[in-house]
């Protein structure tokens, strides 16, 4: 089971951070965060960018941990597969959460 979990861990965390960011974005819009200025941007932007950064750091941390000797998997295949899915997690966080950096806050046909 540990071996299966090891393979699933990084994408699972991607899913969690992806949903959390989406939720945070919903709450931020509901509470009017885009209107509150902070550090040259808005609270909304800062909060979401922070969430993105945290998500990226988590994925990087997983990659580093999986590479370290202490947490190496027993079989070469599991080790390889978990590294592969860890990269999936990292790329997915970069790719799917990047709108927080470029898209207008809370606008849209809504």
């Amino acid at each position: 089971m540990k071996d299966v979990l090891r393979i699933l861990l990084a994408p699972l965390l991607w899913l969690a951070s992806f949903s959390a960011t989406y939720g945070l974005h919903g709450i931020g819009c509901a509470l009017g965060w885009p209107e509150i200025a902070l550090w040259g941007a808005s609270v909304f932007r800062v909060a979401l960018l922070t969430a993105w950064l945290v998500a990226i750091l988590i994925q990087v941390a997983i990659l580093i941990v999986l590479h370290s000797d202490r947490f190496r998997a027993a079989s070469a295949f599991t080790q390889w597969a978990s590294l592969a899915t860890a990269w999936v997690g990292l790329v997915a966080v970069l790719w799917t959460v990047y709108p927080v950096a470029v898209i207008t806050a809370c606008g849209g046909n809504g």
Partner: protein, 827 residues
């Protein structure tokens, strides 16, 4: 013992009852897999006839053949049948039939559960058929958006058939998924480590995990909508604090993964067939496994792309738009890996390969149009037009039907032991291929011209007539092709000449069984040393038949197999299966009674049926186990193994783990719904919150926690002193206290039909109460078992299973209490 005597002896132990009576009592995976497949293709036929009716109606402008009401039933039932009663069960049937053979073992983890799942499917599907025959079929579209499907706008019984019938069928999907997870992880031939598993097993594992996490949101949605319809709990009514968007989220949280639940098994079939047809091995096995896992996860981050037009802010849409394009990457990796496999070997054009070619052509187009609609502005135009219908058929027909047809032609010789001799299959393929593209290319086209989906007719001035006619004629050509496949298969199954073993020279183990395979699959279990176990070792089949593998010495009348360590594939325990029984069909019938009582509003019957299910469940588990320690067993080849019932992590334990995964997803979806309504729904806050009570919170949480801890005490008491009873009794008391707390909570909830808040609390409280009662029942059962001598320090498996459920109770009880009291504290 000669091979023939061994065959006779094993057959006597494993065979189902002869004749049609065997259908009702069989628990054999080959029987049930075939029954699943035949039933699923029967539904394919029904869904196909409905499709023909739709196309007949749309062939010409102002056709008067079906009115709007009938047409709505046609498209709703067509979509519903294809998705729930054809595609998913076909996967289940295929996996149930093939996996034990591919994995080199004798059956799945829980044979009786296989049968129960089948009967739930058959009965649930029949409910929908009845609705169709009587013209009271669901008519709100296959995604059933409320409020259209709510009590106010669809007062008839039509919608209830959908909600109840589909939930019933989903029980079978969950059963199959639990079973496949445990079977793939534990029930393999010794030596088959994870990296030596046939690729189809990986795909099936990923698919099964997706079913466990993808279906619960829909089950929750169906339960909530049925509660709204039957008892007026306003989850989806905006004026009472509900929100119809909640349904859309829950539905598509299921609905998008569903598409991949359908595609992944087909990809598994493709990955199995292509290397064989190209006389080589699969290119990038590890990459493909990683892609399948990636695909599974990414597909859970796409659901909002079905809701691009609901007014979600652009940034929200952007997340899902980006995720929707990213999901194409692992898909692309697989497609190119398959083509690379063909380049690596020397491909031959047999009939299965033709269908795989059909897959490539169709699926790639479907993928490309899919990427187009992932682009938000494009979707704002294309959404709800025939373009979308065309796109989804390219994906579903291309990504599922073509591969499955390939699979049918590939495995038919195994199932029947015969050779194909007519060339019917090639002609059929040509008709299907041309007919399909004629039908749906045309629909892309009228879609872009503005024809909406789900309209029952159109004006001649639109100029869509000719295109629709082309589409309809093509669809009849396709139907003729599909009918020819059916005839071909029937000829094959009953009259064709006998063929030899392994006609394709494949390397996977199913071909090392006989064709057709005997009930026990293998006279002895192989020791696997490579991924294509059968390739480098053509003598394997004979050696297995001679009993040179594991468990080759059927001493007693027991159905035996063994389990392995998940990662390494070293044998760890021996398993004794239950024999033929009618318990599964009986239990499915009583389960059906439960659903029926809700459907026709015979509410006095509902608790009786539930009690019946519980009673049968107790009989079900009571029949297992023994009253003496069996000790180590000889498994052949110098290996001795303990019985699974004498371990901590028995198959039942693993099954519970996966069932709880699904259960936790259900609970998580409920919490999501609660948070969603609270933050998004109009009409909040409610008039008053539940009065928070630290006492209730404290007692309930402490009691649930205590029951989990006491269960651990029971396990220790059993292990060291053979005295589990004090711990069990303690745990039972704590569980009952938990139940009482939740009963009190429920009595304090404001009227649940007044506001969605109260309705949600009501469901939350009932869920926890229900789990406290289940845990209580299990503890009472464990006490009875211990007193009757069914447990011992060695025979401890049952305690560990109960412990899982008390742990789960502790978690959900605490979370439910917190969620119920939190708003009150905040206010």
């Amino acid at each position: 013992m000669t091979a023939l005597r061994r065959h006779r002896k094993l057959s006597a132990i494993w065979s189902s009852e002869p004749g049609f009576r065997g259908w009702f009592s069989s628990v054999n995976h080959s029987d049930l897999g075939r029954m699943f497949l035949v039933t699923a293709f029967f539904f394919f036929l029904v869904g196909g006839v409905l499709a023909m009716l739709i196309r007949a109606q749309l062939a010409t402008p102002h056709s008067a053949f079906a009115d709007a009401g009938a047409f709505a039933q046609f498209f709703t039932m067509h979509g519903t049948i294809m998705m729930f009663l054809f595609a998913i069960p076909t996967f289940e049937g295929l996996a149930i039939y093939l996996l034990p053979k591919m994995l080199g073992t004798r059956d799945l983890a829980f044979p009786r559960l296989t049968a129960y799942g089948y009967w739930c499917y058959a009965f649930g599907g029949s409910m929908l058929l009845v609705a169709l025959v009587f013209g009271i079929a669901p008519d709100g579209g296959w995604f059933m958006y409320p409020p259209l499907t709510g009590p106010l706008h669809s007062p008839g019984i039509n919608t209830d058939f959908w909600l109840i019938g589909i939930t019933f069928v989903e029980i079978s999907a969950i059963c199959a998924a639990v079973e496949l997870c445990v079977s793939i992880l534990k029930y393999r031939a010794p030596g088959m480590s994870l990296d030596k598993m046939p690729i189809f097993a990986w795909y099936a594992l990923v698919t099964a995990l997706m079913i466990l996490t993808g279906f619960p949101p829909l089950i929750l949605g169906s339960v909530l909508l049925e509660l709204e319809r039957a008892f007026g709990l306003p989850f989806f009514q905006a004026d009472l604090g509900g929100d119809s968007l909640l349904w859309q989220h829950l539905f598509w949280l299921f609905g998008h993964p569903e598409v991949y639940i359908i595609f992944l098994p087909a990809a598994g079939v493709i990955s199995t067939i292509i290397p064989v047809m190209a006389r080589t091995t699969l290119l990038g096995y590890g990459w493909i496994v990683a892609s399948a896992v990636a695909l599974a996860f990414l597909s859970f981050g796409l659901w909002v792309h079905h809701m691009f037009t609901t007014g979600i802010p652009l940034m929200g849409l952007a997340f899902f738009s980006a995720a929707s394009t990213l999901v194409a990457v692992p898909t692309g990796v697989q497609v190119f890996a398959w083509i690379g496999t063909l380049w690596k070997g020397r491909p031959e054009m047999h009939l299965p390969m033709l269908h795989i070619f059909g897959f490539f052509f169709t699926f790639v187009i479907g993928g490309l149009t899919g990427v187009m609609v992932a682009v938000v502005p494009f979707d704002w135009q294309a959404h709800d037009t025939a373009f979308i219908t065309a796109h989804l058929h390219y994906v579903l027909f291309g990504g599922f039907v073509f591969p499955i047809l390939a699979g049918i032609y590939y495995w038919l010789p195994l199932v029947s032991g015969r050779k194909r001799f007519f060339r019917l299959g090639e002609v059929a393929f040509a008709l299907i291929f041309l007919g399909f593209h004629g039908t749906f290319l045309a629909m892309h086209w009228v879609g872009l011209m503005g024809q909406r989906r789900r309209i029952e007719t159109y004006d001649a001035e639109t100029g869509w007539g000719a295109i629709n006619l082309i589409s309809s004629i093509s669809s009849f050509i396709m139907a003729i092709g599909l009918a020819m496949v059916l005839i071909d298969v029937l000829i094959h199954a009953f009259v064709a000449v006998r063929g030899g073993r392994n006609p394709w020279k494949a390397g996977t183990l199913e071909w090392a069984s006989m064709s057709p395979p005997p009930a026990y699959n293998f006279a002895s279990l192989p020791h696997v040393t490579s991924r294509d176990a059968f390739h480098g070792d053509p003598g394997l089949a004979n050696r297995l038949a001679k009993g040179e593998g594991y468990l080759g010495d059927p001493q007693s009348a027991r159905r035996e197999t063994l389990t392995v360590d998940i990662a390494t594939g070293d044998p760890d325990f021996m398993v004794i299966y239950p024999g033929n029984t009618r318990l599964p069909i009986l239990m499915a019938a009583v389960t059906g009674l439960f659903f029926l009582s809700i459907l026709i509003k015979l509410y006095w019957l509902t608790p009786l049926a539930l009690a019946g299910v519980a009673a049968l469940a107790l009989v079900w588990v009571w029949r297992l186990g023994a009253r003496t320690d069996a000790g180590p067993q000889d498994a052949g080849r110098g290996v001795t193994l303990a019985l699974a019932g004498e371990t901590e992590k028995s198959p039942g334990w693993w099954g519970s783990v996966f069932l709880l995964v699904a259960n936790a997803t259900f609970f998580g979806s409920l919490l999501f719904g609660y948070a969603f309504l609270w933050t998004v729904a109009p009409g909040w806050p409610p008039q008053d919150w539940l009065a928070p009570s630290l006492v209730e919170l404290g007692i309930g949480g402490a009691a649930a926690l205590t029951s989990a801890l006491a269960m651990r005490l029971a396990i220790r008491g059993n292990r060291h002193r053979a005295r589990p009873l004090p711990g069990l009794a303690f745990a039972l008391t704590a569980t009952l206290v938990t139940a009482v707390t939740f009963a009190m909570l429920l009595s304090r909830v404001p009227p649940p039909d007044g506001h969605a808040y109260a309705a949600t609390l009501f469901v939350l409280g009932s869920y926890a109460l229900c789990h406290a009662l289940i845990a209580g029942l299990m503890l009472a059962f464990a006490i009875a078992r211990a007193r009757r001598g069914y447990t011992s320090p060695a025979r401890q498996a049952e305690f560990h299973i109960v412990s899982l459920w008390t742990d789960y109770l502790a978690v959900i009880a605490t979370l439910s209490l917190l969620a119920a009291h939190l708003p009150g504290f905040l206010a």
